[in-house]
Symmetry: D2
Subunit: 108 residues, 4 copies
């Protein structure tokens, strides 16, 4: 069974072998995340259907890869980032106000 630490270890090795750390500034990684998220969105450009599930997974993998590299560059643990933010989001969207509604918190 794989976990994030394994994935990060492989990614670090992949980057080091190619001497690519020099290109991986936080800014360049943030641009890369935006670029890859556009490619993911392209899977749904003209229809909401998941036509090609394999392609969706492949594009999602690219977004995730750059997210892990950025977290690593910032010295942050990806799971902890998610869990910390979730604590904050819970308070912005209390269950009794947010249930069954997609309204943004500032209009709840």
């Amino acid at each position: 069974m794989s976990n994030v630490e394994d994935a990060l270890s492989e990614l670090r090795n992949f980057v080091q072998e190619r001497e690519w750390a020099q290109f991986h500034s936080p800014e360049n990684l943030a641009k890369s995340i935006a670029i890859e998220s556009g490619e993911l969105l392209e899977c749904f450009q003209w229809s909401g259907e998941t036509g090609d599930a394999e392609r969706v997974q492949s594009e999602l993998a690219d977004v995730l890869t750059y997210c892990l590299l950025l977290a690593d560059r910032l010295g942050a643990n990806p799971e902890e980032l998610v869990l910390q933010k979730l604590q904050h989001t819970r308070t912005k969207y209390p269950v009794d106000k947010a249930r069954g509604r997609s309204t943004k918190y500032d209009r709840l």
Copy 2:
């Protein structure tokens, strides 16, 4: 120590309490990833410097959160998506051709 399975379990619970699964189609999650990646990029809009590291981490957390939710919706394991894609990327960027260069594979 937290791991992705813990984060996903908390996220699933958060979504279920709010009855939000109805909004989380793959298409809507892909849009959400693109939207949040724009907010992450905004941290670097006018400068490549990481001015506000806390804000960068907070925006990255949002992108990661929607990535985990989309992987979960597709029945995929996030770490395995990353590792599978890495196998593919290794063959597109052989070490001897790609070392120290940011050139795209189709122009290597």
Copy 3:
């Protein structure tokens, strides 16, 4: 000399010949703008230099095309949208406070 009305007239004809208006919901056009803006950003993924000016112009043309189609779909005049928004932005960024600074209005 060309103007926006000429460009829109050609675009409308292009779309009509191909019976593509059915795909051009505001939502799909907004997704398309985000997708193409990712391709534009890819020109600057690893460097701030404008390496390939022709490619930058070609990707910018794609973003602009979908912007014109969306304005048309909304019954709005693109130049007037820009000028109206500029009136608003002037008040958010008074010259004496904003001069020479890239700070966002809510922190000026």
Copy 4:
């Protein structure tokens, strides 16, 4: 009646008064287009309906504004960019193959 040259002239004046040209590198403008296109997409995050038409127009205005500034920075005429690209797209999507279909050109 306004046209693009009027809008550009006002934009140039707005930028000059604030001494903002120093921030408007092609790269920063490309990032800005991606950021604003994310805000436009947010109008359709959870639904394909155009709920708030005024907000959609306001976000579209932001994308358009940065597109005009980038075209100007590159010394290009926005309408001509659109018309030149359209010539190219016509050949990629011949009417008889593309009619009524949203298929990408490389799979037509």
